[in-house]
């Protein structure tokens, strides 16, 4: 059984306007999304801004109210009332945020930042708490005597590690990482990515990894879902997605990635032009009349593409 299974997830936001702020419409930020993550695996959610990837992550951890569908964590439905409380979900699912500058309270010491989840769930004496915080700091590669410092005394990469220490304090099973390295410099990015992989092995963590950077997604993930306007357009293994993309949107996204080899410039240009032509020609067969993706259909054991019935 998958550790996390999301079925038909819908998150709609009301658009209010007119007299007495009546609801005049809604934005379907997440529109019937399905995904499943096996324990110990990394699922990558990719899409451009506004595609609904962050909203999906936030809905799973309970930061956005869901409109419909179910979220099964270890078999229990988190959408039902009280489920989050009963099933230890708040301990078992943690989040790493995008911006290490705004996600740490500047007025709190590192000790208080890391110990906050512990204080919520465990009754520890101040000494035990201190010891635990120091252990966690060492686990994320920072020296234990940093425990009384404040966030501003750390660099971006170090702050992101403090955020990670906070996320792993309660030994969670699932971590939702929303663009965890996009605010960091390349060299620091590498450090945090390596580290996320190390602790995944060490603690048998499962990741939902949200990013718009396809290089990072390929590096980190076992399974990848591409989102567009709140829906999946394609899902599969990294090989399926990068070596054999089938949906025209996925193809366009991959073609747009800057190439690291300048000798390929001409080849890329020709390739991009052909993809762009294909996009224009095949648009009608890949999207419905509202410009939205069709439901996913399997084309192999691992690979699913959003295509109309006859595809």
């Amino acid at each position: 059984m998958a550790l996390l299974e999301v079925k038909d997830l819908q998150v709609h936001f009301p658009i209010r306007g007119g007299l007495f702020s009546r609801q005049v419409g809604e934005v379907k930020a997440v529109d019937r999304v399905n995904l499943a993550i096996e324990a110990g695996q990394t699922y990558g959610l990719v899409g451009e801004s506004g595609s609904g990837k962050t909203t999906t992550g936030r809905a799973i951890i309970g930061l956005n109210q869901i409109t419909g569908g179910s979220i099964l964590f270890e078999g229990a439905d988190l959408a039902s009332k009280g489920a989050r409380k009963q099933n230890n979900v708040r301990r078992d699912v943690q989040m790493i945020f995008q911006d290490p500058y705004s996600s740490l309270n500047p007025k709190k010491r590192v000790l208080d930042i890391i110990a906050e989840p512990l204080r919520n769930f465990e009754k520890l004496s101040p000494q035990e708490e201190m010891r635990k915080a120091q252990e966690l700091l060492e686990q994320v590669g920072l020296s234990a005597d940093n425990v009384l410092k404040y966030p501003h005394e750390f660099s971006g990469g170090q702050r992101q590690r403090i955020g990670i220490a906070r996320a792993i304090a309660l030994k969670p099973k699932l971590i939702i990482a929303d663009e965890p390295v996009s605010a960091l410099d390349v060299s620091v990015q590498a450090q945090v990515l390596n580290f996320l992989r190390d602790i995944q092995k060490e603690l048998n963590l499962t990741y939902l990894f949200i990013s718009h950077d396809l290089g990072i997604i390929r590096h980190m993930c076992d399974r990848i879902g591409i989102m567009y306007k709140g829906r999946h357009v394609e899902e599969g293994t990294p090989e399926d997605i990068f070596d054999n993309p089938r949906h025209i949107y996925t193809k366009r996204l991959i073609a747009a990635i800057p190439d690291i080899d300048p000798l390929q410039r001409e080849v890329r240009n020709v390739f991009r032009r052909s993809v762009s032509e294909e996009y224009d020609n095949a648009y009608r067969s890949h999207f419905d009349q509202d410009g939205l993706a069709y439901p996913l259909r399997s084309i192999s054991d691992t690979h699913m593409v959003a295509m109309p019935e006859k595809g």
């Binding site: 451009e48 020296s143 170090q158 390349v186 590498a190 390929r218 300048p262």
Partner: protein
């Protein structure tokens, strides 16, 4: 090859912290030719934006030494009045954050019109409006007449960046500085903006300085690349040489630390330690030495200079000859601040 459009000689830009001046841009010498894209690559704090601001004369409190020669005139010595005549006409800048660079209270049309008006192009009101619409079309805005009357908040990030570019090219500049022009954008939009910049280069034969930290963008765009670290240029070469045969330890480390879709690496290389702060820079030794502690100290030279190792390929310090990656790229626990 065509002649140099811009020649920067021994440019040093220092900022005052307490009672001392610290150089954020340290003795930079560079040239930009017509119809050339020079990329400046570096991480945050490397001095790349401080360099761009110095070229544009945008620093108000910094101490600037050296020369910025634009067509025989030294920008550093120019009076504010002279600068205002050159900026926005002969040379202009594309800023990183398009929302912050636009006036939220002015319609798009007037913001572009302003540049035409200020530089006294002698056009009538009607001609200027036509020119603005023409510019909006040129940067790929689908309904120029409609966008003319819109406010910045009504446009998406990609559209705003196009407006910024329209403002920058309004007077047909010969030198264009683009400071992280696509960092805030999605990949598909990024591609469109990059294509646009490339096309402008060809149309106007302009020289372009592209500042970025994204090596993918550099490989797509640049003719030549200067890599900056801690205020200094550590390597300059044409793009083909730099990507196929990078020499400086910092350049090589950078290339090794990025995940790409083409090549799946089991582990990414991590550059140990952090960029030294302005105050704590080793001013006389190799600035990158602290981040490659496994390299013998004798590999570095005193007061490292740029060495021309092949025509047009410059590398700072002698340590590149002895550089190798450590056997284990284990980094956890070695970079803690004590």
């Amino acid at each position: 090859m065509s002649e140099d459009l811009l020649r920067i000689e021994n440019l040093t830009t220092s900022f005052r912290i307490a009672d001392h001046y610290y150089a954020a841009v340290d003795d930079v010498t560079l040239t930009v030719k017509k119809n050339e894209i020079l990329a400046i690559v570096g991480e945050s704090g490397s001095g790349k934006s401080a360099l761009a601001f110095s070229i544009m004369g945008l620093h108000t409190k910094a101490r600037i030494e050296g020369k910025v020669n634009y067509k025989g005139q030294d920008i550093v010595q120019m009076s504010p009045g002279m600068l205002n005549k050159v900026r926005g006409k002969e040379m202009s800048m594309i800023f990183q954050d398009p929302l912050a660079a636009l006036n939220p209270l002015m319609i798009i049309g007037s913001q572009i019109d302003e540049v035409l008006l200020l530089h006294d192009t002698g056009l009538s009101k009607k001609q200027r409006k036509e020119k603005v619409l023409d510019l909006l079309t040129k940067v790929g805005i689908p309904r120029p007449e409609h966008t003319y009357h819109q406010y910045p908040y009504e446009l998406s990030g990609g559209m705003r960046q196009r407006v910024i570019i329209a403002i920058a090219i309004a007077n047909g500049p010969q030198l264009l500085l683009a400071d992280e022009p696509t960092t805030a954008l999605d990949v598909t939009i990024q591609l469109q903006i990059l294509e646009l910049i490339k096309k402008l280069k060809e149309d106007m034969q302009a020289g372009i300085i592209l500042i970025t930290h994204d090596l993918g963008v550099v490989s797509e765009m640049a003719d030549r690349v200067a890599v900056m670290y801690a205020g200094q240029i550590v390597e300059i070469a044409d793009i083909y040489t730099l990507t196929s045969n990078p020499q400086h330890p910092y350049t090589r480390s950078l290339f090794n630390s990025i995940p790409t879709v083409k090549e799946v690496k089991s582990r990414l290389h991590v550059i140990q330690g952090i960029v030294p702060s302005l105050k704590n820079l080793p001013r006389t030794g190799c600035r990158f030495a602290g981040r490659t502690p496994w390299i013998d100290a004798s590999a570095h030279e005193e007061n490292p200079q740029l060495h021309e190792i092949a025509p047009g390929h410059f590398v700072r310090c002698t340590c590149y000859r002895h550089f190798h990656f450590p056997d284990s790229t284990e980094e956890v626990g070695t970079d803690g601040i004590a």
